[in-house]
């Protein structure tokens, strides 16, 4: 058991190394001169030179990479070209809204998608099932910012039920905090709900055909117990895996959702950094989000090996 956990943790190291190497070498493999592109059209040669120096582009690749990794291991993500603040400081200032949004979305999405998927599988072939599947195609097809604007237009602007835009820190009270996150998390969660519901339905359909389900039914287990305890427990592994993989959708979607709802989080930081071509900030954000994604999926792996005794180490 311990050996397995250790092996899984070690296996993420090359993946993280590839991510770091890739994000770093982008500066070198991209066609053209990144310093000129970042400096913009109106820059003087001196400014271009300053940016070239601050990105370290005037030194050899190996020296720079070693230096960069060394600083990375000390949690130093470099300095923003635009604000001259450490990237870690910028991230720390903006992380609360993004984490709030993602956690609320995760909870809302899972608590909607799993029961919906189970019911669709139970009622397979009926109109309930068709509605769920139609919704799932809809969720995959309508981009997050479209859902965001429509929700904001209907529920905030027209009906005035919820705040239109902005973010209230959790320190100013749970209720205003949550109210501000309802629309963004529904918008962000739509595609995620579609994904989880679809996998839940597919896995449950398979499980429900197995003999032990018939046995359980024969011995008189109620419908709810049968679906949500006997069957769902055995369908858990693919569902949990998809919840982990889907985090990538949440991360990408958060960038857009924050723009639509004017939430001052990491997504806004990303958009601001793009507009200013502040590459160190973008680099730091890509690394942070990829790291988060890898860690979440590692955690998912480890959790279900602990929970499901059928998985051999």
């Amino acid at each position: 058991m311990f050996a397995y956990v250790a092996r899984r943790i070690v296996a993420t190291i090359p993946v993280m190394a590839v991510v770091a190497l890739f994000v770093f070498s982008l500066l070198f493999i991209s066609p053209g001169d990144p310093a000129t592109v970042i400096a913009g059209d109106q820059a003087t040669p001196a400014e271009v030179e300053r940016i070239r120096h601050s990105l370290g582009l005037d030194r050899s690749f190996i020296v720079q990479f070693a230096d960069w990794v060394w600083r990375l291991l000390h949690l130093d993500l470099g300095t923003s070209i635009f604000t001259n603040l450490p990237v870690t400081t910028l991230i720390a200032q903006r992380i609360e809204p993004t984490l709030s949004l993602m956690i609320v979305t995760l909870i809302v999405a899972v608590s909607i998608a799993v029961p919906v998927g189970v019911i669709a599988a139970w009622k397979a072939g009926t109109w309930v099932d068709r509605m769920v599947m139609a919704f799932s195609v809809f969720g995959f097809s309508v981009p997050v910012f479209v859902i965001g604007y429509v929700l904001a237009f209907v529920f905030a602007l027209s009906l005035d039920w919820l705040p239109v835009q902005g973010y209230t820190p959790i320190t100013q009270g749970i209720v205003p905090w949550f109210k501000g996150l309802i629309l963004p998390s529904i918008a962000l969660g739509c595609v995620y709900i579609a994904l989880i519901a679809r996998i839940t339905r597919a896995t449950m359909l398979e499980v429900l055909q197995q003999d032990y389900i018939r046995t359980a039914r024969a011995k008189g287990v109620g419908q709810k117990g049968l679906l949500f305890i006997h069957a769902l427990k055995n369908a858990a592994v693919p569902i949990v895996t998809v919840i982990g993989i889907g985090i990538a959708l949440l991360i990408g979607g958060a960038v857009v959702t924050e723009s639509v709802f004017a939430i001052p989080g990491l997504g806004r930081l990303t958009v601001d950094a793009i507009l200013r071509r502040d590459y160190p900030v973008i680099q730091g954000l890509v690394l942070l989000f990829s790291f988060l994604y890898v860690i979440v999926n590692l955690a998912v792996d480890l959790v279900y090996t602990l929970v499901d005794p059928r998985i051999r180490y």
Binding site: A17, V260, V286
Partner: protein, 302 residues
């Protein structure tokens, strides 16, 4: 997903019975579309949008980049069907021309990702020595959320349709590579491939005769999903200012320009949004239908 198209698991069984009911005289294509109505619905929708994009100059449009400061932010009317934007440009024209960008990006990314993924996947699948190395690189690429990967690439390159296509392809092709490698690994152990190897068939011939035909079905399905996701990614990139340059009328750009005014001029955001959603929906319907039609067992693993 329409009523007739069952999902991932149940698709193999229920459809098999009813094709005897269809008269055998029909053209095989019609037969296929009848058995898989989602492909038909999605295909027709997609053809309509493609037609509108190609024939845009003949469909009552004006120059999509023509600025008319007197006619700024006018609501939809007989003269401007979808209204005008902040610079007085006709939104109907901009949206039809914008379809070109979306379709071009979606289609090109799907093709390029398939080609790159096929090459890398075949290489990894057949090279026992390089397999682990190549797949770790693919894993690394896949663990960068694709929008952020594209954002990072776009931050270092000038905004152009070509660069957008390049950035999204880099983010998408590892999925195809993994898929193809999976097919190769499972086929490599099949007795008939063993037999071919034993009888002295060359590697290129094995690839062409035995491996490629088996990758076509899952790759076509995967390519349609990549097409759909590339169109969304392009719109998102343009929307947040990291995509096609503002001069190009793409749906993401139109929405980005309408963003500041969305509370008062909602139609500027709404019309491109509807077109984008419909196009992605059409591609997804085709993808779902093809998945059910081609190989439901394999599609499940994607």
């Amino acid at each position: 997903m329409s009523s007739q198209a069952p999902d991932l698991t149940s698709s193999a069984a229920p459809d098999r019975g009813d094709h005897h009911a269809v008269p055998a005289k029909r053209h095989p294509w019609l037969l296929f579309l009848r058995r898989h109505p989602t492909v038909a619905v999605g295909g027709i929708l997609l053809l309509l949008i493609a037609f509108a994009a190609i024939a845009a100059p003949f469909l009552g449009t004006t120059d999509p980049t023509k600025v008319n400061t007197i006619m700024r932010t006018r609501a939809p009317s007989a003269q401007h069907w979808f209204g005008t934007d902040v610079l007085g440009r006709d939104l109907y024209s901009r949206i039809l021309y914008g379809a070109r960008v979306s379709l071009l990006v979606g289609f090109t990314v799907a093709v390029l990702s398939s080609v790159c993924g096929l090459v890398v996947g075949l290489f990894a699948g057949f090279s026992r020595r390089m397999d682990a190395f190549v797949m770790r690189i693919m894993d690394g690429l896949m663990s960068i959320p694709s929008i952020l990967l594209a954002v990072a690439l776009m931050a270092l390159n000038r905004g152009s349709v070509g660069n957008v296509i390049f950035a999204i392809t880099i983010a998408e092709f590892p999925r195809v590579a993994r898929l193809v490698r999976g097919v190769v690994l499972s086929l490599r152990e099949q007795p008939y491939v063993d037999a071919a190897v034993t009888s002295g068939t060359s590697l290129p011939r094995i690839v062409v005769m035995h491996i490629l035909p088996n990758t076509v079905a899952p790759m076509v399905v995967q390519a349609t999903y990549i097409c759909a996701s590339a169109m969304i990614t392009e719109a998102i990139l343009s929307f947040i200012g990291a995509g096609t340059p503002p001069i190009v009328p793409s749906w993401g750009n139109i929405m980005a320009e309408g963003r500041a005014l969305w509370q008062v001029k909602f139609y500027i955001v709404l019309f491109p949004a509807i077109f984008l959603s419909l196009t992605v929906l059409a591609v997804n319907l085709v993808g779902d239908g093809l998945r059910d039609a081609l190989d439901p067992r394999f599609a499940k693993k994607i």
